[in-house]
Symmetry: D3
Amino acid sequence: MRILFANPNTTTAVTDRIAAVARGAASPGTEVVAVTAPYGVPYIATRAEAVIGGRVALELLAEHSPGCDAAVIAAFADPGIGGARELFPIPVIGMAEAAMLTACMLGRRFSIVTFATAMEPWYRECVDYNGLGGRLASIRCVPGGFRDINSVAEEKSDELVAACCAAVEQDQADVVILGGAPLAGLASVVAERVPVPLVDGVAAAMRQAEVLAALRPRKATAGTFRTPDAKPVTGVPAALERLFTRR
Amino acid sequence: MRILFANPNTTTAVTDRIAAVARGAASPGTEVVAVTAPYGVPYIATRAEAVIGGRVALELLAEHSPGCDAAVIAAFADPGIGGARELFPIPVIGMAEAAMLTACMLGRRFSIVTFATAMEPWYRECVDYNGLGGRLASIRCVPGGFRDINSVAEEKSDELVAACCAAVEQDQADVVILGGAPLAGLASVVAERVPVPLVDGVAAAMRQAEVLAALRPRKATAGTFRTPDAKPVTGVPAALERLFTRR
Amino acid sequence: MRILFANPNTTTAVTDRIAAVARGAASPGTEVVAVTAPYGVPYIATRAEAVIGGRVALELLAEHSPGCDAAVIAAFADPGIGGARELFPIPVIGMAEAAMLTACMLGRRFSIVTFATAMEPWYRECVDYNGLGGRLASIRCVPGGFRDINSVAEEKSDELVAACCAAVEQDQADVVILGGAPLAGLASVVAERVPVPLVDGVAAAMRQAEVLAALRPRKATAGTFRTPDAKPVTGVPAALERLFTRR
Amino acid sequence: MRILFANPNTTTAVTDRIAAVARGAASPGTEVVAVTAPYGVPYIATRAEAVIGGRVALELLAEHSPGCDAAVIAAFADPGIGGARELFPIPVIGMAEAAMLTACMLGRRFSIVTFATAMEPWYRECVDYNGLGGRLASIRCVPGGFRDINSVAEEKSDELVAACCAAVEQDQADVVILGGAPLAGLASVVAERVPVPLVDGVAAAMRQAEVLAALRPRKATAGTFRTPDAKPVTGVPAALERLFTRR
Amino acid sequence: MRILFANPNTTTAVTDRIAAVARGAASPGTEVVAVTAPYGVPYIATRAEAVIGGRVALELLAEHSPGCDAAVIAAFADPGIGGARELFPIPVIGMAEAAMLTACMLGRRFSIVTFATAMEPWYRECVDYNGLGGRLASIRCVPGGFRDINSVAEEKSDELVAACCAAVEQDQADVVILGGAPLAGLASVVAERVPVPLVDGVAAAMRQAEVLAALRPRKATAGTFRTPDAKPVTGVPAALERLFTRR
Amino acid sequence: MRILFANPNTTTAVTDRIAAVARGAASPGTEVVAVTAPYGVPYIATRAEAVIGGRVALELLAEHSPGCDAAVIAAFADPGIGGARELFPIPVIGMAEAAMLTACMLGRRFSIVTFATAMEPWYRECVDYNGLGGRLASIRCVPGGFRDINSVAEEKSDELVAACCAAVEQDQADVVILGGAPLAGLASVVAERVPVPLVDGVAAAMRQAEVLAALRPRKATAGTFRTPDAKPVTGVPAALERLFTRR
């Protein structure tokens, strides 16, 4: 089984981190392919940046998904997920949706904890888009800047643990998601410091992608995720253009 | 990895069916343990029957879960799931919740199709309990009686396929769940006759149980699924009594 | 008119308390029959305990409801209510639903105040089950242990009054329900110490049971609360078995 | 016990009908006072007419509620109910809210059936105002005109029964409310022709008013239904003016 | 273009204030007609007072709307708006709805800030009536009395600005509405002291009334805002009576 | 006043149509600037195409908004609106949100009618994104292909009018929006053939953009639409890059 992780951010170190955590979480025999955005921002934090990221996610999937059994949009909040699910014949999931749906099996209400306040509105829109507002306890963001996106998990681990505990004690969370690809791997390190289950977005996405690949769902030919009708498109890379034009 | 399927119905032939489909869907190396209710009804179809089934589900889990890595309440609508999630140290999931959350990654709105009209109210309460009403397209039940609960999937397959197609065309479902343990295995047989992905409840539960077991979430010591305080209880089997009394 | 109060807990002193408050709230000529669970827990506080309580509630109703005009499941959060409403030909109501619906006629938003933090999740699921989340201001639980379930109302009365006042001042409650059968009778004692109407669960259930008995609604033969089809069942007391098997 | 029924319509024959049904539904010893709007429309059917009716309801209550233990705004959809609940020291309930909350104890979803299509929007706003949209199956109105508002119940009984049955079969109603004061009394006559419980708005309001009067809730001095601060007002009858000015 | 502002309060100084702010916000060539309630209360603050205000709003519109292209009910929370929209052939909007819908184009969640705590419940019901609860961040009311309704904006400006800032910082508002006609004009004065856009209710209503007048929507002859059927009415001024009777 | 209409589709004839209708709806003195996507699809109909359109909308706004007082994303469903509202100092609105919010002032429930079934899912997500699901009666799409995107309004006018009438009669719409830029101008032509108000998306957006420009809201420096922090970005045109990098 071969799973694509498409990082719509430009930071290859984060892609490496994603790949390492995904491989650690994968079943025996699963191969992980992890790719990085060729352009865009170092890490998406706002709605505006997500607009750029959604487009680049489609490009990455168009180029790298052939030969894969399922794909993950590896930025928490899942830029471009709806469009990707229409366009591609294999299952495509978002890291946030995978984490949230997994969390729903571990508790009644989940919180999302992350490392930058700028992300809160985009994350909240993602929760609403998934119709899971009734399951959300809170989104908690650690305030203040950080030195390096690739080591923010370690740099902020104490503040992140404190935010997780506050989510449990003050917001009545039954389970906490550590959101944001740069936090991949932290959940297993700090699990004993938080009194409820923690969900690692990358690990959850890895496993959920395997679930979907294993179930081998057919591509819809009806419903709202059927393959769109062919349409001419300009200004996009050839691999993506072929998907739109069906040629 | 060892996964328990607890069938809160008394029909062993349905348990056998569950076990066979679960084993077919499992990853290499996963062991399936499937057990049948020692008392109750042949198959749960109403809220009243689910009250009996919830209690027997706890008994089955108490007796058979030691040594397992995760457990599935193997009746669609998940009798006793909330209580089980409190009581047991391993992850416990319901067949309906596993199917619905899996379906959410395959489309925007899902329908549930089943073989008896009596089940609709109980299923609907289960959807609402999971906070997924906004993702539900419809619940469609094939009317009329059937000869044998263990072959109803084959007996009614044409009507069930027709109901799936109607869910897509008339109710705007993007994905359809075949609900009810007696329908286990049908989804893969009829997949090509329905124009959207089909979700098999047992296969989805099998795979989701593996996900949770692999993520090894800690047992909550806070939040609403922390282990309940010890309390004396009478009139229940010893294995269940020990869980309540913590002795 | 004869009203059954079925206490699904095993503490007879609480049943006595329920009976006394119910009789005090009843119309002239109404007879109160109050019965206690033959097995289970001293008082239900969690989802897991409610699974046991739902089953015993059905047993109590099966044995004692003949000859009664309406019945009350006399534990706040109403274990087994849906199943009971299906099975029995007379109206069956839950203490929580009776209290909440009564509260809705006294204000826009109600709070529920009770004596143990363990109860919060179970109560909240009950509010949601009734579709009344939009009318809920808060659930407030007095923290800490107590000496005796039968005198917790008196022991904790100051803390309970403080919680009621906090619900009004901080949570914008227009009316407060004192939840939990062990608190029966407290509302009338402390009414002047809380600046909004208080609802006593037992008194409300008593009066609402009279309302339904007086309206003499027919037993549904259609809709989701029609009598379930006959079905064989094993492992339950004879009175309950007869209801399932319709013999 | 003395219960006021304030009919905010000008048709005294309908008031007589209300009074007769209320008396038939009342407990022994309960006195019914029924009064008619001195001005306004023969029967309220639209939002615009309800604006007039809300004002006249306050006037009727101001003049006639002294000496009563509870009051009912006796037009389905409850014009002026929020303001009345603020102003008056006794419990005030609306006929629609009493019927809907009673229906909630008899089934999961209720339909409202009435005799004129003009009423649908106003009724729907009333359901929404009560936060009970999730419990509503449908509102069904019998189309076409009628000869006489006071005998419309008899004139249209076949169509009304057919609408009730359609609500059960097509809209999945568990219980049906016959809405509109002119339909008072019809439910008991046609009960056997509809396969689910029927709720008579006037009978339900009669009994619920007794419940509230019996519970003797204190008048709120906090929360959103506390007595409003005194304020000068002009252009209203003296009895109502005194309530606003607190003199 | 001629726009009517109907102030359902009796304070002519507030009407003057409304007229001045409306004229300042109007497009060149728009004429503003502002009229004051001939009876009622100095300023509506509660549900009970809104019942009086709704009736007087219809009277004002009946008398003064002929010759106007659109009308505004110039009290925040929009007493009588539903009825007015039925009765009149020109567009009628409420000050609160105009402000809220305008705010929705400036941010995701809006707060409403006003000068008296009594108004909170009535405002909240207005938000719910408009189905905009999901867009509401908070309603914040400045506590304490004030000297003069016509200068409360100036008297309380510091507290109002502080409440606006608290709504942004503590309630996550993206935009703040200054609610209540007596606050008309304040938004432009204090705009630089609040870090998000402020919406002035009167200015927004002025502009939105122009929008509707310019679009020249036809009067509905179907749907729930079609002109009601003619009906006799008594006890209302002649201009309003003619609208009900269609003579 | 100068208003930018950014058409994220590549069909210049549709841009011309938008410009003509916008100019017809504008106030005297308002200047309309209408620009066309330099790349992408002829008309956006699916989520995948909207991902491309969202990015090109930001590019168009970055290049053309300087000197404008407000901007409109001139494709129904508003690709990129959230990001645009963050990035730009002037008000930016979507054609769909402008139409829906305008419709809310003309009735309780609105329908959206358009010319291609492919658009339904994308439109529905837009309604949900705006939190207006409770105000939506239906989305109706005329089935079947069409000859030319620029004359589809005329080609399909009879079917579109029939869909509008069906929305009123079968879906209880009080007002109907003609969605999709290619339908601009149709509403005024067919207004008399539909029994409720029609809203033209372009005309509504034109007028609402004027409202916002006239209110001169400050750019937020707090809340979720504050200008994002500067961030490096690659692979986007210089004008857009400058907005992200704040240089």
